[in-house]
């Protein structure tokens, strides 16, 4: 019997920044925690999925956001209902932007799903750097480390809450980073975000199984993953100021 169904939206089109890694780590940590996991995928033209316990939508350039635009708009009600029911929706980069009210700037004029109360403005100064964010998602403050690569100013609506605060990097452009909606969130953090931040992954998994009355706990089987993630994070921490040439 499946304890956890992970749904990835548009794995090919919105999967160019290692977005599959977020899926891989959710599945692997859940399995090592003793859960029976299924991974499902939605592609353009597929029937809308019937159910999921956690949803991931990754990043992609504007051209592919345009290509999946009409398909993703079909999720407007479903994602909203799911999120209200406590199903975490994790949206990265372009995926977060298309889930906002819309994307403008640099010739982009894409209506979004309005899932997040925010809007994305392309054409901000391009950022390609290591990224450190603190987030209250799912409990006490957590430091996240990863990589940031975008040229978007992300403007939150008056009542919207950011996913976190920027410690190092650009984020939304105003010291805040991403957006949060219940157990769902959007972020520019790549690297990808979840493998490098096991504590965040565990909070997503906890939220996902809490809804169905299940339980998830970190076990001995997670030790090597955690050790490698800790060491990876130490290296990123030590190199936060390293600047990557964009040209």
């Amino acid at each position: 019997m499946t304890d956890l169904t992970i749904l990835q939206l548009y794995p090919e089109q919105l999967g160019v920044s290692g977005d599959g890694g977020n899926v891989v780590t959710l599945a692997e940590r859940a399995r090592r925690g003793g859960l029976d996991v299924a991974v499902t995928e939605h592609r353009p033209g597929d029937a809308l999925p019937a159910a999921a316990d956690v949803v991931l939508i990754g990043s992609g350039p504007l051209s592919t956001l345009r290509a999946i635009h009409s398909d993703v708009l079909r999720f407007r009600e479903l994602l909203s209902d799911w999120s209200d029911a406590g199903i975490p929706v994790v949206a990265i980069g372009g995926g977060m932007e298309i889930l906002s009210r819309g994307i403008s700037g640099e010739g982009a004029d894409l209506e979004g799903l309005g899932f997040f109360d925010a809007s994305a403005h392309r054409g901000a100064q391009r950022r390609a750097n290591y990224f450190k964010v603190s987030t209250p998602y799912g409990g006490g403050s957590l430091y996240l480390l990863g990589f940031e690569d975008h040229a978007t100013r992300f403007e939150l609506g008056a009542g919207a809450s950011p996913f976190g605060a920027v410690v190092s990097g650009g984020g939304n452009g105003d010291g805040r980073e991403g957006v949060i909606r219940g157990a769902s969130f959007g972020t520019q953090m790549k690297g990808p975000a979840l493998p490098l931040n096991p504590a965040l992954t565990d909070r997503v998994l906890t939220a996902a199984v809490a809804r169905t009355g299940g339980a998830y706990a970190v076990a001995d089987a997670h030790a090597t993953l955690d050790e490698y993630a800790t060491k990876s994070r130490e290296v990123i921490s030590a190199n936060l100021e390293h600047v990557f040439k964009a040209m």
């Binding site: 780590t25 999946i68 990589f147 993953l225 990876s232 290296v235 040209m247």
Partner: protein, 419 residues
């Protein structure tokens, strides 16, 4: 006389830079400052003009193949070293070969060109022929849009003097057309592509919709053999030996042969091309084998998900001893999660500044790791210390910067410099 002073100065700076062990692009930069027409003035002496090689992956390998084919036809070739594909890098490379009066005895220039500078360089070098290899998801931090990279290449192709050679199997580049230019294509047979574990790794043009027009490849890889490939050229087929294993190298060979065919016209002789491949040494780090103790180190270099995947797919069996290393030369390695590592059953040593991130990726895939050693020098010592493998081969799967360090450590001089 206008050449003497800038060239002397450039050479002097070059000697100083070398003595300091520094990079090689600055002398070229200086010469271009003093003599903005330097690139044009030197390359217009080439009777057979200049050929451009563009692409996300395979530029160096293909440039190397094309140069050797041209040489096999008796031509003197000027070419730029691996990665010296920006204007200042090309100027530096020319600087090391011109006379003080700006003379260079070459018949043809075969140049790999960075896509971001290709249109600008075309304005100086006026290539007669432009070869477009592929658009693959590469260095997103640099370009963000693969369609933007494709536009850079096709815009450059449109500036060619006579010929464009493009990749039939690339959704962005295959459909390239021109009313005034001779456009021909290379590719791999559908059966070969279908048999490749992860295909050719060319980017999908999701925004363009799937192409419906059937395109012909004038040079098509139709079979892979133990040491090479069969390439169909119309009704003729040639068997070439390849300097390194993998379908992508066979496709590069088809691209080089097709480009030589159009550039040489009736002079092209397939026997000479076959002879060139038979004698060809691997390009730096692409299947190159170097001595390590009583064994050999086989180098496979990659710079992104596509090239790593293609090289992993080309492994006949899981390597007995293998080092995998990535450093800060590849800043964002998010894509390692898009790579299928299942052709490895273990990795002996992971190294480079990204060693822990690689280890994290491999642990997610359940691939056992011997040692995580971020310092490449120590990692190479660990590889040296491993008992001699039965196949006498220790595999080094590395990015460019790690390869350079590893070569040096194994006692091989640094012949090429990056621009």
């Amino acid at each position: 006389m206008k050449y003497v002073l800038p060239i002397l100065l450039g050479r002097l700076v070059r000697v100083l830079a070398r003595a300091r062990g520094g990079g090689s692009a600055y002398p070229g930069y200086l010469v271009l400052k003093l003599l903005p027409t330097f690139l044009t003035d030197v390359t217009k002496q080439f009777d057979r003009g200049v050929l451009f090689v563009l692409g996300s992956n395979g530029k160096s390998t293909t440039t190397h193949m094309l140069s050797d084919i041209m040489r096999s036809h008796g031509l003197r070739v000027f070419t730029n070293p691996t990665g010296a594909n920006l204007p200042q890098g090309i100027a530096s490379a020319l600087l090391s070969e011109v006379s003080l009066f700006g003379r260079l005895k070459a018949d043809v220039g075969v140049l790999e060109v960075d896509e971001a500078f290709a249109v600008e360089l075309s304005g100086h070098l006026h290539p007669s022929t432009v070869l477009m290899l592929n658009v693959q998801v590469d260095q997103l931090y640099r370009f963000y849009e693969t369609s933007r990279v494709a536009d850079m290449m096709t815009d450059t192709a449109a500036t060619a003097g006579t010929h464009v050679v493009t990749n039939r199997d690339d959704e962005y580049l295959g459909p390239f057309e021109s009313a005034t230019l001779d456009v021909t294509r290379f590719g791999a047979s559908p059966a070969l592509v279908a048999a490749a574990p992860h295909g050719l790794q060319n980017a999908s043009a999701y925004d363009k919709g799937a192409g419906t027009r059937a395109l012909t490849a004038e040079a098509e890889v139709t079979a892979l053999t133990a040491t090479g490939a069969t390439i169909a050229l119309g009704d003729q087929a040639v068997d070439v030996r390849l300097p390194a294993k993998g379908l992508h190298y066979a496709v590069d060979a088809a691209a080089a042969i097709q480009t030589a065919r159009v550039a040489l016209g009736p002079e092209f002789d397939s026997h000479k091309a076959v002879a060139a491949f038979a004698a060809m040494k691997p390009a730096y780090g692409r299947g190159e084998r170097l001595k390590i103790g009583s064994d050999e180190a086989e180098f496979v270099m990659f710079k992104n998900a596509a090239s790593l995947q293609l090289n992993l797919d080309a492994l006949a069996t899981a390597p007995e001893q293998v080092l995998l290393a990535i450093d800060e030369g590849t800043p964002d390695i998010s894509w390692i999660y898009d790579v299928d590592f299942s052709s490895l059953d273990h990795v002996d040593v992971v190294s480079g500044a990204k060693a822990w991130q690689i280890a994290l990726r491999l642990e997610h895939a359940g691939i056992p790791i011997g040692t995580v050693e971020p310092q490449i020098e120590k990692a190479i010592d660990l590889m040296k210390a491993l008992p001699s493998p039965s196949g006498k081969t220790k595999n080094f799967i590395v990015n460019y910067e790690q390869m350079m360090i590893a070569r040096k450590m194994l006692g091989y001089p640094d012949l090429e410099k990056r621009a």
